[in-house]
Amino acid sequence: MKEKDIDKILQEIKIPEPDEVVKRATIKASVSEFNRQKESLQKNIKGIDTERRLIGRINLFLNLLGGFAMRKSYVIAGSATAFVAILVVSLTYLSVDLNRTPQPINVPVEQNGTISSGGAAGMHQEAYDYSYSVSQGGGSISYNKSAAPPAPSVKRGIGSSIHSMIAEVPMNHGGSSYSSGGYTEEDLRSYENQETGRDQFDTIDTNPVKQVKEDPVSTFSIDVDTASYAFVRRQINYGVLPQENAVRIEEMINYFDYDYVVPEDRARPFQPTVAVFPTPWNPDSKLLHIGIKGYDIVPEEKPESNLVFLIDVSGSMDDQDKLPLLRNSFRLLVNSLDEEDTVAIVVYAGAAGTVLEPTSVKEKGKILAALDQMQAGGSTAGGEGIQKAYDLAEANFKKDGVNRIILATDGDFNVGIYDDEELKSYIDRKRKSGIFLSVLGFGQGNYNDALMQKLAQNGNGNASYIDNLNEARKVLVEEASSTLFTIARDVKLQVEFNPKLIAEYRLIGYESRMLKREDFNNDKVDAGDIGSGHTVTAIYEIIPVGSKGRLVDDLRYDSKEKEEVGSELSDSEYAFLKIRYKLPDSENSELITTSVNKENEYAQLDQVPTDVRFAASVAAFGQVLRGGTYTDQFTYDDIIELAESTVDNDEFGYRHEFLGLVRLAKAIE
């Protein structure tokens, strides 16, 4: 198809003349809105005393400083309520566009010349001018851009059209897109990274290679979160590669549904699927794949749900990808609930308030109306969000049902308890009373992933990241049963490797979920929960004895090989897998074991089941995004090739989307 044809056809669309009456009405409505805004702006500005204005400025200044600043302002969140008011004012009454405007942080500006080319400079200057004087006669919150680095001095008139504006830009990097004016592509890359610089992630140290002789046992907790994949997807779709710490490989792998054996009995809620096959990125090693699918709850057993939505309506939630998306997401969830279930809504901004008392889904209209009425920036009557949510959940506690709080936020927890640790221990205490917590993350630029993860883990819940309505559907509707109905708690995996066959191993992902060997049998040690229908996949890269791919040398003074393993076993068994879990109503754990032996091995990659191969390609992608320490020369193209043959059975298109993401990542790089 020729581009020209489409151009031609589309440019010749006949557009009907708009209705003159409607046009007049629009003009009238917008002028009166203009006047209303003007008045309320003046009123609000007058109401803010000098001191607060000062604090507000400092806070805005801190925000401008990026990541450090945000952490800083988080630490001082105790006093944050004092100036939430001013932030709400600034975010509510200023433009929608303001929230979308990129952060003007540390954009390197080349001083030597080309910058004067105008067009692009104009564009970036817009980005610099984050500050907006809201001045309207009486009083003003004006924030000067002096905090930002020196902006290009060129002012371009508004008069020129966008076409001429672009025409002024020299194409000094050939076809390569992004470089215009005096910015190099790299500058802009770092500029883009900066934009999301306030997203907070805990540092992940990639799991090291371990020697089977020294450390034959690997123990970790399951992780059914998927937030990392959604966040990575969002970043890549946005045209930037995610920061390494945002990539949690196990969450990327577990984002997808795999066709593992489904257990039939709730008393034995899962059955592991194991496979050993050649590593796609390393000819000298093998992958050991462990897949678990949770018992899938059958509808007639579906317990009643008592849900409390705890929703962040602070000013920062005013972006399109936050509150409006959140509202639609919850709408999807409400529509998927049964009549016996109840929903309550608590919102928090500077203060917290109950928007909806526990209401039966029979009165769906009432719940949906309450969702619709939520406005970002609206302040609500006192109290403290999270306590309120727990109070409501307790008051309406369903003994044999699902009691869960679903917290939706972009990461700022000015919910009443300011200290992270205090918040965590509060949630931990509440978890023991049978109320679980799920965390839904929205938006970017200010996303506090680290805290969300901790909260969800302490509340025995899941952390998910919602970047679009499709993701909301996946998390809240499609997987609603798994997110809501826990089938086993404190699920731990332990793998013992056979030193006779395997020399070295490393676990791909699960860095934040590692447990001590002795924790496995200690029922007091908390671990992840698994919901109905959840799948969990863990992949080890293993290096067979005698392989030239070994990374660790033998010890010179090591005693000669011990032959203590039963000889028959030691010849055929790669590893022994143990899974510990507690049934939802039990405090004592149960054990499931299985051996991984040569019967589970595939000699050729193309014999491996497609789902297992697909998981390997996601693992490869995650590792490459994290810097590819162990993936050697494996490229995005190799990942595409590996994944391409595995995406046929793809009902909802998630795997194709994954392929698209890898292609895009390749293009970005």
Binding site: E3, G137, S177, Y178
Partner: protein, 181 residues
Amino acid sequence: MENQDDTELIKLAREGDSVAFEELVERNYMFVYKISYKWTGIKEDAEDITQNVFMKLAGSIQTFKESSSFQTWLYRITINSAKDFSKKNARIRKKEMALSDQQNMKEGSTSEENSIAELIQYMITKLPHKLKETALLVFSEGMSHKEAAVVLDCAEKTVSWRVFQVKKKLKKHLESDGVKL
């Protein structure tokens, strides 16, 4: 569209002059309406979106900086409003769309050339938002990838990739409908 007078009007409006603001709305009404129409293909929806855009503009004109292009800014607000609008109305529209689809198909068969044009237009309105906004700016508004990237606030490569996707999708759909271009 955007000229020296707009600059003056924006300046006055930012100072709180409602007459200037009114004039600004009047002048830019068609611009916004046209983009909205191209997005939805439905006159009434386009008018609703246009109203939303100017309501937003009323609240945010103070924050507009003269140093950036008003037109780019307006493009952004319009596309965002159009996206919000489609999301909000997706459910209500579903039924209506199903009906009008049938209608379109019937009417579309009058002449060969006409039907291809309509088919393409229709397909564009059915694209996912990211592709749709890109298609609208690049094909319909005739922007270069670079220009579209400025409006969409993404990398030019992203625009190029999306354009490629749009073409691929259109081609696939057209071919499945037996049309060869």
